[in-house]
Subunit: 376 residues, 2 copies
Amino acid sequence: MKFERVTTSSGSRARAGIITTAHGQIQTPVFMPVGTAGSVKGIHARDLKNDIKAQIILGNTYHLYLRPGISVIENAGGLHRFNSWDGPILTDSGGYQVFSLGDIRKLSEEGAKFQSHIDGSYHLFTPESVIDIQRSIGADIIMAFDECTPGDADYTYAEKSLGLTQRWLSRCFVRFGATSPRYGYEQSLFPIVQGGTFAGLRKKAAEHVCTFDADGYAIGGLSVGEPEDVMYEMVEVVTACLPENRPRYLMGVGTPANILEAIDRGIDMFDCVMPTRNGRNGMMFTSQGTINIRNNKWQDDHSEIDPEGWSFVDHDYSKAYLRHLIISNEMLGAQIASQHNLAFYLRLVTEARKHIIEGSFVSWKTEMAKKITQRL
Amino acid sequence: MKFERVTTSSGSRARAGIITTAHGQIQTPVFMPVGTAGSVKGIHARDLKNDIKAQIILGNTYHLYLRPGISVIENAGGLHRFNSWDGPILTDSGGYQVFSLGDIRKLSEEGAKFQSHIDGSYHLFTPESVIDIQRSIGADIIMAFDECTPGDADYTYAEKSLGLTQRWLSRCFVRFGATSPRYGYEQSLFPIVQGGTFAGLRKKAAEHVCTFDADGYAIGGLSVGEPEDVMYEMVEVVTACLPENRPRYLMGVGTPANILEAIDRGIDMFDCVMPTRNGRNGMMFTSQGTINIRNNKWQDDHSEIDPEGWSFVDHDYSKAYLRHLIISNEMLGAQIASQHNLAFYLRLVTEARKHIIEGSFVSWKTEMAKKITQRL
């Protein structure tokens, strides 16, 4: 994997770059649609590529391991073959999902024991098994197995948790180095910086991951309940420590405004379920502002969904029609809203990139953030 | 509306034809995807047209009247503008839906009083109001308001019910004649032949509808619980009475084999929720036979969904992937299965038409029926 910085924006730490993977190039900053169980909910693979213009999508180790199971994916020839997305894929390590399981998971030095949310069966994830699974999935970018520290953790917990994540990271790299790609193309391993909401721990964590000279670095454990200002502060602390010549991935973030702010602080890669999950509930991010399409005010608004949108759904369908579909629980409503929101996110980061290169990012960001956070 | 018979098949009553409507031509025999609430579940309008190659779709008076409500559709400029399907549209009159409501509807000479399945509110459909609503929806083909006689009705009930349907039909034509299209293009009114499972009543009903010299004729109240043989017998009795130079529509039928048999008996138009509803549950009609994609046998079948299919989903996705999506309740599974099944139905009637024109329908039908009714 290669990361080339195209330029930096004046007056900002924002970066434009190009990541080259075995499955193609990714222009950064980039937003990665989430395909938890091997499918971005409601979106055909060809629409992801041609309409939304996604450059890379996510898969989820935890979900894919449980269903369809790793042997099915191996027999398909990897996730790219299985789900017919032939661009780059990044897999989350399962650390976050296991964290979300709450009472039905138990951490130890060895790894995380958990019960399947599907059938209650018992499983163990270790740093080693999680690397093996991601080798089998065939992700271009593999995430290290970590403990996702809760947003409200105190210093003692966060420090102890970081220690576990650091020891697990070493084991991840050992296993990664001792194994080969299963399908013949290169895979990269990204460490995850934890440390809760404590600048000192975050700095320590960032310096620690740098010792591995990885192809890229991720920041985890943010947007998990802490105030936004704290999130931005942690991002600043961490990006200041990370090398300039490697991509930086802020995991699970966030609203369009969060993404603009994080780009400003030097983040290159993002993922979030918000565009699809909120879309299914009728919340639309548009170039004019945020819309709750369920509101009565859209009932007789027969204008197109987003006149500036780049998806066909923005122009083929009206707000009134979409409202009708969402209110009536018609599947097509969730499809349209998800496709619109994803295209909006992709368009936003593409615009951001353009303005970074043109040196106009800061003024554009200020104006855009005001526009898109409006509630219509 | 114009109906032109292209040819008839030798050794069969099957017909190939062309219906010309204000929104384009329809090559018959044709299958019409059902868009109950103004959307064919899970399918984008552009995929309906370009991928499934639908020529006409259905809307439903009952559902559209309740939600979004007729004023919204009027403000949009009719259903074609509202749902962005610019081809021909046929609307069911609501008779069948009201019939399905069971205890929460009451018939009288005036019409049908019913309670909304959404909020329990009370409504009255009369032959006149149902014509007015379909004028407002802007359907190219409007269906008469009828009582859908249950499949197990005795002669006394079926005869009495037919009488009501006949009197309502007269009122439908009076109202239709006294009103004009709302959006400037021509609309046609199709009567519906009822009569239960009694050949004598069906014949009487068919002769009655012919006195109206309509643009086309429908057969209702079949595939509602009666044996298949009885259904075919009723179709034969009715089509023998209907004029050759008008299209014939068998409502709500059916399996692919049902459709082939009905084409053989002179039916030109079909609709059914089976391809979408069964698709959502994982039942796939393919060129090799019927598949329950949930079965374990497909878990590791990485071959494409239907090598002979004409939809992109048939070739973009594998059986194993579709199985995984359906089992995991991923929305995309329902989308793929629905799109495949609809494309299969459209391809089936298109093939039928080709063989009718070539004079090889009967032998093709026999072979095809055997193939597609196989369970794989």
